[in-house]
C-alpha cells in the first residue's frame, strides 16, 4: 500500500459519508415538486396492512387531485419498527410532516415536542368520538378516523345450555355471576373456559387488563395529579382485582398459552373470548347467528373498556403545517371514515360514517361494539409517563400471572413508576 491508495481510500470514505448525510436529509418536508407544489411527507405504521393502506392511497390521490398547492407523499413502516423510526427521526431532526401514532403515546410525544397542537376546526374535532382525540394539558394534538372496542364473545347456545344469564349493556354480569359462569363452563367440559389473550405481549396488556382494574376501582395512576401511582395501582381495590386475576390462572379459567387471536373460540375450544372487534368477522363466520357480543363483567364500579387507537398528528418541525392541516381536514370526510371502518373492522369515529357503515350501522352485525365503546370506553391516562406505566404494568401483570406476591409486586411497580415521574420532573404536571 502506498500513499496514493491511502488517499484514494480516504477520499472514497469521505464521498460515502457525504452520500449518507445526503440520504439522511432526504426525508425532510418542505421541498417542492417539479410543478411547484409544496411536498408534505407522511408516515404511517400500516405497512403490511393493505386494507388500511388502500384507503390512505385513495385519500391522498383525491387530495392531490383536488388542489394544486400541496402534494402528499406517503411512506409506510411496519408497526413493530414504527415507533423506533419516529424516535430516531426526531433525534435526527428529520420528522415527516404528517405522522400517525397510537393514542396513549400522544401526550409523551407532545411533551417531547415531536408534535404540535393540531389546530383543526372545532366542528371536525367535535364530531369525532372523544376517544379518537389525543390531548395533552387540555390541548388537542391528534385525531383519528376510528376507535376499537373490546367485548366478550360467546355462543348463545352454550350459555343457554348451561343456564347462564345473557348479560346486556344495561345489566352486565357482576363479577360473582361471571365467576359462577366460568365455574359452570369448566364443569361442563371446557378445560379453559375463557380466552383473554394473555399469550400476547406489549400494549395489549394495559389495553385489555387495565380497564378491568379500573372497573374494580383501581387505576394505573392517580388521574387528579398524574404525579403518582400510589394508592391507585397498589390500593386495596387493585390488590383485590389482581388476586382475582392470579386465581383465574390458578383455577384454569384462563391460560397464558395458546395462539394470539381468536382461533380457540372460533374452533369452540373456549366458551368465552375477551377480544377486540378486529377479530369479530371470522368469529361471525364460524358461529353465525349464534354469536353474541357481550359487555365485559362489572368488577364493582361498572364495566370499562379501553379507548383510543391510531391517530394523526402534525410534527413540530413541519415546514408547512397549513398544508398538513388542509390534508387532514380533507381526509375527515364521512366516506373515508366509513371506508376505514369497513375495510379494517374498526368503529368509525363520526356519527355520519357510523350510520353509513356496513358493519357498524344501525343494522350492522357489529353494532354492539359501537354501543360498548359509547358506554364504557375510558382513555388510558393522558400523561407522558404512559410509556413507562405501560411497560411496568405489563411486567407486573405477567409476574402476578406467574405466581408472584400481589401486594409486593404492585408496590414495586408503583415505586418504579413514581421514580420515573420524579426523575422527569413530573412530566409537566
Amino acid at each position: 500500500m502506498n500513499r496514493g491508495s491511502l488517499a484514494k481510500i480516504l477520499s472514497m470514505s469521505a464521498v460515502g459519508a457525504l452520500a449518507l448525510t445526503a440520504c439522511g436529509q432526504a426525508g425532510q418536508g418542505g421541498t417542492t415538486s417539479e410543478d411547484g407544489r409544496v411536498q408534505l411527507t407522511m408516515w404511517t405504521h400500516s405497512a403490511g396492512n393493505p386494507a388500511e393502506l388502500e384507503v390512505y392511497e385513495q385519500i391522498i390521490d383525491d387530495f392531490n387531485a383536488s388542489q394544486d398547492e400541496y402534494e402528499v407523499i406517503e411512506e409506510s413502516f411496519p408497526q413493530g419498527a414504527y415507533n423506533d423510526a419516529i424516535v430516531a427521526a426526531a433525534a435526527a431532526d428529520d420528522l415527516p410532516c404528517l405522522l400517525d401514532m397510537d393514542g396513549p403515546i400522544v401526550p409523551n410525544w407532545a411533551w417531547a415536542g415531536y408534535i404540535q397542537p393540531l389546530g383543526l376546526p372545532q366542528e371536525i374535532t367535535d364530531s369525532l368520538l372523544p376517544t379518537a382525540i389525543g390531548t395533552y394539558q387540555d390541548e388537542i394534538y391528534s385525531a383519528g378516523y376510528w376507535d376499537a372496542a373490546l367485548a366478550v364473545l360467546a355462543r348463545k347456545s352454550v350459555l343457554e345450555e348451561n343456564d347462564i344469564r345473557i348479560p346486556t349493556i344495561d345489566d352486565p354480569w357482576t363479577i360473582d355471576e361471571f365467576d359462577g359462569a366460568l365455574d359452570t363452563l369448566q364443569d361442563a367440559g371446557y378445560k379453559t373456559p375463557l380466552d383473554i389473550g394473555a399469550e400476547d405481549s406489549g400494549e395489549w396488556w394495559p389495553y385489555a387488563y387495565s380497564p378491568m382494574l379500573q372497573s374494580a376501582g383501581g387505576d394505573l395512576i392517580d388521574r387528579d395529579t398524574m404525579l403518582s401511582a400510589e394508592g391507585a395501582l397498589n390500593g386495596p381495590e387493585a390488590v383485590e382485582f389482581f388476586t382475582w386475576f392470579q386465581e383465574a390462572f390458578e383455577k384454569g379459567w384462563v391460560s397464558s398459552s395458546g395462539t394470539i387471536g381468536n382461533e380457540e373460540f372460533d374452533k369452540g375450544e373456549v366458551a368465552l373470548s375477551y377480544t377486540g372487534g378486529w377479530n369479530a368477522l371470522p368469529s361471525l363466520e364460524a358461529a353465525g347467528d349464534d354469536l353474541l357480543f357481550l359487555p365485559p363483567p362489572d368488577f364493582g364500579k361498572g364495566p370499562t373498556i379501553g379507548g383510543a387507537s391510531w391517530q394523526w398528528g402534525i410534527s413540530s418541525t413541519c415546514e408547512s403545517p397549513e398544508g398538513a392541516r388542509a390534508y387532514l381536514e380533507f381526509s375527515f370526510q364521512d366516506k373515508y371514515v366509513t371506508a376505514f371502518a369497513d375495510n379494517q373492522i374498526v368503529i368509525p369515529a363520526t356519527e355520519g360514517a357510523t350510520e353509513a357503515s356496513e358493519y357498524f350501522g344501525p343494522e350492522g352485525d357489529l353494532r354492539p361494539f359501537v354501543e360498548l365503546s359509547q358506554e364504557y370506553a375510558l382513555l388510558r391516562p393522558e400523561t407522558p409517563a404512559y410509556a413507562v406505566i405501560s411497560s411496568t404494568f405489563e411486567k407486573a401483570g405477567k409476574d402476578i400471572m406467574n405466581g408472584a406476591d400481589v401486594q409486593s409486586t404492585l408496590d414495586g411497580a408503583v415505586a418504579e413508576i413514581d421514580a420515573n415521574i420524579q426523575s422527569n420532573d413530573g412530566y409537566g404536571f
Binding site: 500500500m1 491511502l6 481510500i9 424516535v87 410509556a387 405477567k398 409476574d399 400471572m401 420515573n420 426523575s423
Partner: protein, 321 residues
C-alpha cells in the same frame, strides 16, 4: 524484520552524517517508515470503527451514567451524581436479580459448554467413515439465526410442546413436564439448555482445530510407553490444547455474560424476573423505558463486572513459568 532486530533503533531525526553505516541506516529507516505507514493504513479502518462504536460509546456511557438523560425529553439532562448507582444497588431489585441471573448463566454455561464441546470434538476427531456428517450436524445450529432458534424452542417448551410429549413418551406417562418457560424455577434452565445446544458446535470446531495441531508422533510415543487412552488424553491431548482452552474459555465467558436475544424473544425477562439479565435490563430501562442515563449506568456496571471477570480469568490462565 529479522535484520532490523539486531540494529539499534535509529532516531527519528536524520542520522548523523559521516558515518559509514549511514546510507544503509537511512535505507532501513525509510523502509521502516513506509512499513509503519502501510501498517497504519491497514489498521485505520478497524481503529476508526473501534473508536466510533466502542471507545466513544463507552466514554459517553460513562458521562451519561451520572446524569438523568432521557431518550425523549424536552428538558436537558442534569447532573445527578451517584443517584443512578445508588438506585441500581438499593432500589432496583430487578437489577440485582439480573446480575445474579447473568452470573448463574455464565457459571453453568462456561464449564458445560466447553466440556461438551471438547467431548464432541474428540468424538468427531476419530478416523471413522461418515465423521464429516456428524461435524455438519453439530455445526448446523451455529449457522442458524439465534432468533429463529429461540422461536422454535419456545414452541417446543410449551405445556403441550415437543419436549413434554417426548418426556411423556420415554417415561411412559409417569412424568408430566411443566410449561418450561412459564415456570420461574425452570425458565432459566430451559434457556441454558437451548443456548448450549445452539453454540456448542462452534466451540467443538475450535477444539477440533486445536486437536489437529497435536502431532501424531506424540501419541505414537505415548502408546509405545504403554499409555492408556485416558493417560494419552491427560498427558498429551490436554497439555497440547492449552492455548485453545484459554481461547474457548474467554469467548464462551464473553458470549454468556452478554445473554440477550434468547431472553428478549422467549421470556422478556419473566416469569417473575427469573430470566432477566444485565444486558436485557439495560435495554429495557435505557431504551424501552427511555431512561438513557440509568441504562448507561447499568451498562457501565456491566462493563466493570466483565472487566473484572476477564482480568481474573487472565490471571488464572496465565503462563506459569
Amino acid at each position: 524484520m529479522t535484520t532490523s532486530a539486531s540494529i539499534p533503533a535509529p532516531p527519528h531525526a536524520a542520522p548523523e552524517p559521516g558515518t559509514v553505516e549511514a546510507p544503509r541506516r537511512r535505507r532501513i529507516a525509510a523502509a521502516r517508515r513506509s512499513e509503519g505507514r502501510s501498517g497504519l493504513a491497514m489498521a485505520t479502518p478497524a481503529l476508526l470503527l473501534l473508536l466510533l462504536f466502542l471507545v466513544i460509546p463507552v466514554l459517553l456511557a460513562f458521562g451519561l451514567s451520572f446524569t438523568n438523560a432521557r431518550l425523549i425529553s424536552p428538558n436537558p439532562p442534569r447532573f445527578v451524581g451517584l443517584d443512578n448507582f445508588v438506585r441500581a444497588f438499593t432500589a432496583d431489585p430487578t437489577f440485582l436479580r439480573s446480575t445474579l441471573n447473568t452470573f448463574v448463566f455464565a457459571l453453568v454455561i462456561v464449564p458445560v459448554q466447553a466440556g461438551l464441546g471438547l467431548l464432541l470434538a474428540v468424538l468427531v476427531n476419530q478416523k471413522v467413515r461418515g465423521v464429516a456428517m456428524f461435524r455438519v450436524i453439530y455445526f448446523v445450529p451455529v449457522v442458524t439465526s439465534i432468533v429463529v432458534v429461540s422461536i422454535l424452542w419456545q414452541f417446543m417448551y410449551e405445556q403441550d410442546g415437543l419436549v413434554n410429549s417426548f418426556i411423556n413418551t420415554i417415561t411412559f406417562g409417569a412424568w408430566q413436564g411443566t410449561a418450561w418457560l412459564n415456570n420461574p424455577s425452570t425458565a432459566l434452565g430451559a434457556i441454558i439448555v437451548l443456548s448450549i445446544w445452539q453454540a456448542v458446535g462452534f466451540h467443538m470446531l475450535i477444539w477440533l482445530s486445536g486437536l489437529q495441531t497435536i502431532p501424531e508422533e506424540l501419541y505414537e510415543a505415548a502408546r509405545m510407553d504403554g499409555a492408556t487412552p485416558w493417560q494419552q488424553f491427560t498427558n498429551v491431548t490436554w497439555p497440547g490444547l492449552r492455548s485453545t482452552m484459554v481461547f474457548v474459555l474467554v469467548t464462551i465467558t464473553i458470549a454468556a455474560l452478554g445473554l440477550f436475544v434468547q431472553v428478549d424473544v422467549m421470556t422478556q425477562g419473566g416469569p417473575v424476573n427469573s430470566t432477566t439479565t444485565l444486558v436485557y435490563h439495560a435495554v429495557r430501562k435505557g431504551y424501552r423505558e427511555q431512561e438513557t442515563g440509568y441504562g448507561a449506568t447499568i451498562s457501565l456496571i456491566f462493563f466493570v463486572l466483565v472487566l473484572i471477570v476477564a482480568l481474573v480469568q487472565r490471571f488464572l490462565t496465565r503462563e506459569k513459568d
